[in-house]
Amino acid sequence: MSIPGAKDSIDGPTFEQILEMDDDEDEREFSKSLVYDFFTQAETTFVKMDTNLEKKDLKTLSELGHFLKGSSATLGLTKVKDSCEKIQHYGQKKDAEGSNDITEEEGLKLLRTTIEQAKEEFYDVEKVLKKFYHDES
């Protein structure tokens, strides 16, 4: 099934696999709890990212990027996942693909913009998902 308005921000097959785990297609208890857990996890992670960005702690930023990448990948939230992967690489002072070294200064600059981008992507997909679960509060 397709998620209205998801475009390329959600990977269909991956998210469908999650939906298939729901025992009741109307309630969607399992997937909904998972998605809402993710909302919380993302919010918390973004706060931590901001704090560590202030502290210029690249290593922790990389770990946070990896952490959120794992869960967004599981849900098929492609855009957020991709940005998180970049955060993971920039935090390791590597370029977006993780193949070449960049300076700490470049890393911080890129991290600042990429974290903001990840947040926006997250808020976008959050809206789509909330709509999907008929929760537009």
């Binding site: 990977d11 857990d37 952490f67 794992g70 869960s71 990948a73 599981t74």
Partner: protein, 647 residues
């Protein structure tokens, strides 16, 4: 008296005081062919010499007679008549102070004269050579007697070696050699070699009187006179300066070449970073709302940017290869996998009339140790060239095991196409950097002309080779390369992995859920995963597959503690790679060190090819990329559980 004179060996004419000829010698008669002496005798001498067949010209005869008469003394002169040289002697004979007779002798002295000239010349030459040799300062030239003792000495020798003539003549020439050479008998050996071969040449250290040494070129030649050995000539040149200059040149060249490569590498790197930035920004820009024209222009920028990036990457690779700072890493190359993934890329953009075929030798090993990424790069390059220059027909890949020994496989890959081929002239420059063959083709087909030269260096780094020949069956080319790769000892694991990766590429069919549900009965499973959301999903999936005994570890340390008990508590361990405290790879190593043989399945979002192989080499059994696909997980779990039962 006249009778006696007639037997003279040279031409002899006797005239009386009025110059009337009174007698001629037999030799004159013989030489002139004059058969009758009577015809000559009684003639006036001048008339005689005026004759056409006169032995010497009148002018010369006249001068000779006149000189003798005038001076009243014997007169000797030479007359050159064309090629012939005559010696003419006239002797006036007096009786009581009055001239009675004049005797004239003439003789052909051409040969004698020639000999004399030659002798003079030779004497001159010898002298010249002697002076030359003695004064030459750039070469030490001297003679040794047959026993090797110094016999002569020149200025060069004195200059080079520091001995004066008196100091060295009579001493053995081994004085010029180092102790080591002397101990090994080198000087005498050189004389023997010279005798045997007619000449011996050697480069090495020679020593001066003051003990300092110089790098010398020495030629020793034996000298014979009528088969008797007179001694040896010895010519020594000081090569120190040349040697120094050569070393300097080589160093300068290497330095310049390295600087160039370093510069290229640095520049490419510096260009690449902003390029990445530009391209990323462009990707973002293309995602915004653009009108069709803007979108088209954006597309052009993107394509050109990507091409430029490829060029820069090529140059970077090339300069790293050229400066020798390029290293190939050692992970696992899975041939089927690499070939499949390269084919996949090309299938998408391959023209409709072109078929891509791969033939894998059944002998081909599943995997070997090597740089998977770079191996793929060569393959990718050859296939992409083949598809670029082939519009219809086929591009065929043959992978064969060329040979193997205890440690290594040599794998041959051939890429055969039915494309435009390579003109005979071009085949020699195919692998030369920055050359592209066909200019018109260059316009149609972009590139740096570095690809094949990079492939060549890469193949050589992998202990192999690369080459080209024409397609033997029809129009087209065959590019081949070999690589010598170390054998791996985890073939069993690789097979499982291979199956898993096959599963990735196959369209999902009805999963064997029934089988896994049966297999799951009474199986204990450990899930090591730090992300709560992933934990939740995995637990749900596993429960859905019929596993009802699942434990959870939230970091690597916990996973190690929980799984290393006696008896081993788990049938399967699912292991996330990036985890706090210790990561999945380190945890796996510790678990294996503790002797636990249970299958460990790696899970990671670092879904790069090549990573899987490195996990396997660390002791993991199989690998599942994240986000976890349930069908694939089932397949991997089944094969692990089966494997487990077998062992």
């Amino acid at each position: 008296m006249f009778q006696h004179l007639r037997s003279q060996a040279f031409g002899l004419v006797i005239s009386d005081s009025t110059l009337v000829i009174r007698q001629v010698s037999d030799s004159y008669v013989a030489v002139s062919g004059e058969s009758r002496r009577e015809r000559v005798v009684g003639l006036h001498a001048y008339d005689f010499f005026d004759q056409q067949n006169a032995p010497i010209p009148l002018l010369a005869a006249r001068k000779a007679f006149e000189a003798a008469i005038e001076t009243r003394r014997p007169h000797q002169s030479q007359h050159i008549d064309g090629q012939v040289i005559w010696s003419i002697r006239t002797v006036p004979i007096f009786s009581y102070d009055s001239l009675r007779y004049i005797q004239m002798e003439y003789q052909d002295i051409t040969e004698e004269h020639q000999r004399k000239l030659e002798l003079e010349e030779r004497l001159d030459a010898n002298e010249t050579f002697r002076i030359l040799v003695e004064t030459v300062k750039d070469y030490a030239i001297f003679m040794l007697d047959p026993k090797g003792k110094v016999a002569t000495w020149n200025a060069g020798a004195q200059f080079f070696k520091g001995y004066t003539r008196d100091e060295i003549v009579g001493k053995h020439f081994s004085n010029f050699y180092g102790q080591e050479d002397r101990d090994s008998g080198k000087p005498d050996r050189e004389l023997l070699d010279a005798l045997r071969d007619g000449r011996v040449e050697d480069e090495g250290w020679r020593y001066r009187k003051d003990g300092s040494r110089f790098w010398a070129n020495v030629v020793i030649t034996p000298i014979y006179r009528r088969d008797t050995l007179l001694g040896y000539s010895k010519v020594t040149r000081d090569l120190s300066e040349r040697r120094q200059a050569e070393a300097g040149l080589i160093a300068a060249y290497e330095e310049a070449s390295k600087l160039k490569s370093d510069f290229l590498a640095n520049m490419s790197h510096e260009i690449r970073t902003p390029m990445h930035g530009m391209l990323s920004a462009l990707t973002l820009l293309l995602d915004t709302t653009l009108d069709p024209e803007q979108l088209e222009l954006g597309g052009v920028i993107q394509q050109s940017g990507e091409l430029l990036l490829q060029v820069i990457n090529d140059i970077l690779d090339y300069s790293k290869l050229a400066s020798g700072s390029f290293t190939v890493s050692n992970n696992i190359i899975n041939f089927a996998d690499v070939i499949q993934s390269v084919f996949k890329i090309h299938q998408k953009c391959c023209p409709p009339h072109l078929s891509l075929e791969a033939h894998l030798d059944p002998q081909l090993p599943k995997a070997a140790e090597g740089d998977s990424l770079r191996y793929r790069q060569i393959l990718q390059n050859l296939i992409s060239n083949a598809t670029k220059f082939t519009e219809e027909g086929y591009v065929r890949l043959n992978a064969t095991l060329q040979c193997e020994d205890e440690q290594f496989y040599t794998i041959l890959i051939e890429v055969i196409d039915t494309g435009i081929g390579v003109p005979a002239l071009g085949s020699s420059t195919l692998f030369t950097p920055f050359t592209q063959l066909d200019n018109s083709a260059t316009k149609r087909h972009q590139g740096t002309g570095l690809g094949l030269s990079i492939c060549k260096s890469l193949a050589e780094l992998m202990g192999g080779n690369i080459g080209f020949h024409s397609n033997p069956d029809e129009q087209g080319s065959v590019f081949w390369f070999t690589a010598k790769l170390k054998k791996v000892h985890q073939a069993k694991h690789i097979e499982i992995l291979n199956d898993n990766l096959d599963a990735l590429n196959l369209p999902s069919t009805t999963p064997p859920f029934e089988e896994i549900k049966l297999a799951a009965i009474n199986k204990r499973i450990l899930l090591a995963e730090d992300n709560p959301i992933n934990q939740k999903v995995m637990l749900k999936i596993l429960a859905g597959l019929g596993f009802n005994s699942i434990d959870l570890a939230i970091n690597g340390q916990e996973a190690v503690t929980m799984s290393t008990k006696d008896p081993p508590p788990y049938h399967v361990i699912l292991m996330d790679i990036n985890m706090p405290v210790i990561d999945g790879v380190a945890a796996t190593i510790m678990i294996r060190d503790a002797g636990i043989r249970a299958p460990i399945i790696a899970m990671t979002a670092n879904a790069l090819k090549g990573h899987a192989e490195s996990y396997i080499s660390k002791g993991m059994t199989a690998y599942v990329p994240k986000p976890v696909d349930r069908n694939l997980l089932v397949k991997v779990l089944l094969s692990c559980l089966r494997q487990d039962q077998l062992s």
